[in-house]
Amino acid sequence: MATILINGQEYPLPEGEKLNAIQAAQRIGVEIPYYCWHPSLSVVANCRMCEIEVGSKDPKTGEIRMVPKLVPGCQTPAKDGTVLVTDSPKVVEHQRMIMELLLLNHPLDCPVCDQAGECGLQDYSYSNGQAVHRFVEERVVNPRKEVAETIQLNADRCIMCTRCVRFTREITHTGELQVISRGSHAEIDIFPGHPVANALAGNVVDLCPVGALLDKDFLHKQRVWFLSKHDGVCTRCSTGCNISSEENRGEIWRFKPRNNPLVNDYWICDEGRYSYKSANDPSLLTAMYARIGNELGPVLTDQALKSAGQELTKVASEGGKIAAVISPFLTVEEAYLLAGYIKGLSPDAVLALGAVPVVGEDQTFTPDKVKGRNGDTSFLDPKPFTIHAEKCPNRKGVEAVLAHFQGEVIDFNALTGRIAAGEFKALYYTSGSPDLWADEEAARSLRSGVSYLVVQDTLVTPLAQLADVVLASATFAEKAGSYVNADGRLQYAEAALPPRDGSLPDLDILAILGGRSGGPVESSAVLAELAAKIPAFGVAAGGKLPTYGALLGDAPAPLPTNGDAPTPFIDAWSKTRAQIGTRSGAGATR
């Protein structure tokens, strides 16, 4: 078996993986600090932070020969017999010197810098740097400039790691960014008149290890240590990118991508990134409404639920036909409860998939190992990123539920035709979509086709105006549940915000209507029940999903081929920070 020697200890190397020294050390919990290396970008080794002592062990004689100079760890393959020393005085001294060099012209704006709190310079300067530095010359002051409509560059904070440049060349193939000037005057810039304008532009902000590239949308609004992070899934298209929704004081402030090598790698698109705003929309419904006489007025939650439940039961018992629209914005758990509830009222009820918004065409970014890349690409496994035209998170999930309950999937348009023809007595309509599905005219025709209408939605739509009962439901941020993306991958999203005043999460609304007893429902309990009932969801047995989600209809979830994926950059840092904490706590005097 291939083995590697790290700091005098021998460890086995994972089979069939190409790792560099940083990754190999990370697997066993040894941190090698780095700036310019990123697991999805080519290796250029220009920051020199990761330099360590490297050598090789002769398999026959067991003799160890070290390279006389320090070697960048990001560029060192972890092979059989490789010897790494990451904590010798030579390495530690080198890291101190690199920190001093990087901070020569750095303004140390930390109090006003948006990166403070998740900044590689701050953390490594604390753990690997030194308190003093000897630079007495005048600092280079680079200008602040706009590199995109949404992105600001504070050039003086840049440490020239060129991650952003490599991203636009290697991942998006748009190449908007470049390095201008040389030496200490080197600066990141755009080509004059060509700002960064691609669908993934916002990722350069996440990539930047310091606060040089800043998102203007988030700029100066919050300090990052105030934000609580929740693992979510983006609901703006059917890719289902993994995100962390970061919230403080009941408002979402930003979305950041979360690594999932099977879906979105390290990226999210700008459309998804800024879609958090719809969760903070002040025009979201803040109360439930019911028609009393001719007037639609706000009523107490239980009153609205009771009146909807009673009326639907009455329609069913009188033999009237009920139709339900199950929105592709609902989670699979909600779709399951809704379908179960309506079918429970009357077995001949008709369930239909809500409108599926499609905008434009799928856009795929296909990086390859060669094109647009420079430096060492042997460690790379670049993954394509697709922005789907289908702008809903869960069409496949709802379809799978519908197929189970009625054997076929009826689409929204087919149902509207049947409603207009007067086939149904009552309609249960769910949406939760930020896009409008039924304009005023369509709403009027839907309304006139049925004698009783329940609308479960988050916004005041023309159809809600005409409803008999409006149930204020949760936005994507206010509910937990699972979604099935375009590839059929079932993924779990946490709730980021508590339900707004006057609203209830869809799962609770449906559980109350369906008469489920036993207090508040948990999405995992519903998922477990669903997995037991519907074979397609067998992967979610027990209500648990693996970190990277699981493919519908698959046997037990396949793990990513490269075992546990590399820790995302920021996560690696927070771990370092935890270690620093224990170290300084032990030696310092108080």
């Binding site: 006003v112 030194q130 105030f226």
Partner: protein
């Protein structure tokens, strides 16, 4: 400072001697001090009460009273909205809204659009003052802090800046201006001009 810095000194707490372990000598010592104070006060010499408000109490120079927000030479608020004070505050009584500074403020990228301290929640610990990297927030010697309603005790940016104008001469900014020459610090303050319902 690094944990392995050779100039770091380890402090070892002194161990208790045998008679200290009994505690009684300490208690008696404490009672003696109390008795001394009672005696000197009742004999009229060391009275420690004043006839407030006719006589004003002058707190010690490190007394921590109501906050002020300092201004720079151009009269702008010094605060850069880093929210370190709000982070450090154990009472969570500081609320700041940051914003990008106007183009004309070439030296500054960020400032506070709104700055509110709930003086009723504050415990006057001075952590905010300690945390501030630009010496923008300071606690003054003003102790006459009253209000007729809770709302009056919630100090906004305007009010906090007005406390600075009020106390500027008596209490110069601690780090950015040279300390005042000899003389007790807070005596010149006109208490009638204090913030609160009287003002």
């Amino acid at each position: 400072m690094r944990p392995d810095d050779p100039s770091l000194k380890r402090m070892i707490p002194p161990t208790l001697k045998l008679h200290e372990k009994f505690y009684l000598p300490q208690i008696v010592g404490g009672l003696l001090v109390t008795g001394k104070h009672i005696l000197s006060a009742s004999l009229g010499k060391g009275a420690i009460t004043v006839s407030y408000p006719e006589d004003q109490h002058v707190p010690s120079a490190n007394y921590r009273g109501v906050h002020r927000l300092n201004k720079d030479e151009q009269g702008r608020v010094k605060c850069v909205a880093c929210m370190l004070c709000a982070t450090a505050c154990p009472a969570h009584c500081i609320d700041i809204v940051g914003a990008t500074a106007p183009e004309s403020w070439s030296d500054r990228e960020k400032y506070c659009e709104s700055f509110v301290i709930d003086e009723l929640r504050c415990i006057y610990c001075g952590m905010c003052e300690e945390a501030c990297p630009v010496e923008a927030i300071e606690l003054t010697g003003l102790y006459d802090l009253t209000g007729l309603s809770r709302e009056q005790m919630i100090f906004d940016k305007t009010k906090l800046l007005s406390v600075f104008d009020l106390t500027r001469d008596a209490e110069p900014m601690r780090y950015t201006t040279p300390p005042p020459k000899a003389g007790p610090r807070p005596t010149e303050v006109e208490p009638s001009g204090l913030p609160g319902p009287k003002a």
